[in-house]
């Protein structure tokens, strides 16, 4: 028996594959998923409530699923908009995964839903790594969080299709430096659109709905540099195409199938979850 095996599989291959299937399934029935990410308390629920209400006025069939560690408060708030809402309690898990989302949609998501907004758990670390089958990933930051938030959470901001600044009604009071914030976003995600909003004053409300409808209509969505690898697999991709990384350990084991150990086949498909069979 060979003493070692080159697995070369993505740790998140299962989630990526599930997300891909979910995206295909939902797209086929005319539903587009929007994934909302931010720190706790950035204003996801408040903004979403306003956007859902606007969608209702315009006759756009929308639905929302909100994930929290505990309490049904967010669902209660969102339901005031009149849209179908589902609360998911993650029971301690700090992010949503594609399989969890898929499971919660079974038997709940109304057939005619055009846009499904998913309010992820308030957390900028792990939700960034989990593709939920969304077509639009929106990252929010409130003016109270500091202009360097994008630098502290580069993976989250770096994979955003759209960045929304929230609570601009208090920007002046907290001395929010818009230019610095924009420069920091540009550094980790060049070219991504940044829009200012305030759920309190209504300023900038409607942007999210417009961008979501555009994505649903097939308009091209921004492709972040971080999501761009040579084979262009998409955002949750973790391939390091041609990264030129060499083993420093020089353990030089032989593989019975005659392949070297230089990881030259990194362009293998992302969901290729099999082990190479050694003779």
């Amino acid at each position: 028996m060979c003493r070692s095996v080159d697995l070369r599989t993505q740790v998140l291959a299962k989630n990526d594959a599930t997300a891909e299937r979910l995206r295909a399934r939902l797209t086929a029935r005319g539903t587009t998923v929007v994934n909302l990410l931010s720190s706790p308390g950035s204003g996801k629920t408040e903004l979403l409530e306003a956007e859902l209400a606007l969608a209702g006025e315009r006759g756009v069939p929308v639905a929302a699923l909100t994930a929290d560690l505990a309490t049904e408060n967010d669902a209660t708030r969102l339901a005031r908009s009149g849209a179908p809402v589902r609360q998911v309690l993650t029971d301690g898990l700090c992010h949503l995964e594609a399989a969890m989302l898929g499971g919660h949609l079974e038997g709940w998501l109304p057939a005619d839903t055009r846009l499904l907004f998913v309010e992820n758990v308030g957390n900028l670390v792990c939700p960034a790594s989990y593709d939920l089958g969304e077509s639009l990933r929106v990252v929010l930051a409130s003016v109270t969080e500091g202009e360097d938030k994008p630098l502290k959470y580069p993976t989250a901001f770096g994979l955003a299709h759209l960045v929304l600044v929230t609570k601009t009604d208090i920007a002046e009071a907290v001395g929010f430096d818009e230019a610095a914030f924009r420069a920091h976003v540009e550094r980790v995600n060049p070219g991504v659109e940044v829009r200012l909003t305030s759920a309190r004053t209504g300023s900038g409300i409607g942007t999210l709905l417009e961008r979501a409808l555009a994505a649903a209509g097939g308009a091209p969505v921004h492709t972040p540099v971080m999501a761009r690898t040579r084979a262009d697999h998409g955002q949750a991709d973790g391939h390091g195409h041609g990264h030129g990384h060499e083993h420093a350990d020089g353990h030089g084991h032989e593989h019975a199938d005659g392949r070297g150990h230089g990881h030259a086949d990194d362009e293998a498909p992302r969901a290729h979850g099999h082990a190479h069979q050694h003779a």
Binding site: V125, C126, S129, M226, G240, H243, H263
Partner: protein
């Protein structure tokens, strides 16, 4: 913390490989973790130890190799280490990177099998058992 979910995913995939290779124990698992993968290596190592308990990976070593983020500029053809926090615009001409060459990986590179477990070799197997 999602490192536990990641550790469980690693264990899951290695268990599967161990079954198909007939391996009875695992000496080490090597991961490639990009700087921009959003993973804390220490937290991952800690969770890995917990996730391995009671599986064929019990006692396995986790070798997490950090892969630096690198990007490339199309107009000037240069490559640079993006650093942390990353800068994805070219340090020479300011053009946004065309793509990220490395830094987002979260990948199982290889697995080294260990010796057969004493418990499994302690008595001769009769064919009906396998």
């Amino acid at each position: 913390m999602h490192e536990m979910s990641l550790a469980l995913a690693v264990v899951d995939q290695v268990e599967e490989a161990a079954r198909s290779h007939g391996a009875e124990s695992v000496a080490s698992v090597r991961l490639h973790v990009g700087e921009l993968a959003g993973v804390v290596p220490d937290a991952l190592s800690f969770c890995f130890g917990l996730a391995c308990a009671g599986t064929v990976l019990e006692g396995a070593e986790l070798i997490a190799e950090t892969v630096p983020g690198r990007a490339r500029c199309t107009p000037c053809g240069g490559e640079w280490a993006v650093g942390m926090p990353p800068d994805l615009c070219c340090p020479d001409c300011g053009t946004p990177a065309e793509d990220l060459l490395s830094g987002r990986e979260l990948r199982i590179a290889d697995v080294h099998w260990g010796a057969p477990r004493p418990a499994a070799t302690g008595r001769p197997r009769v064919p009906e058992e396998s």
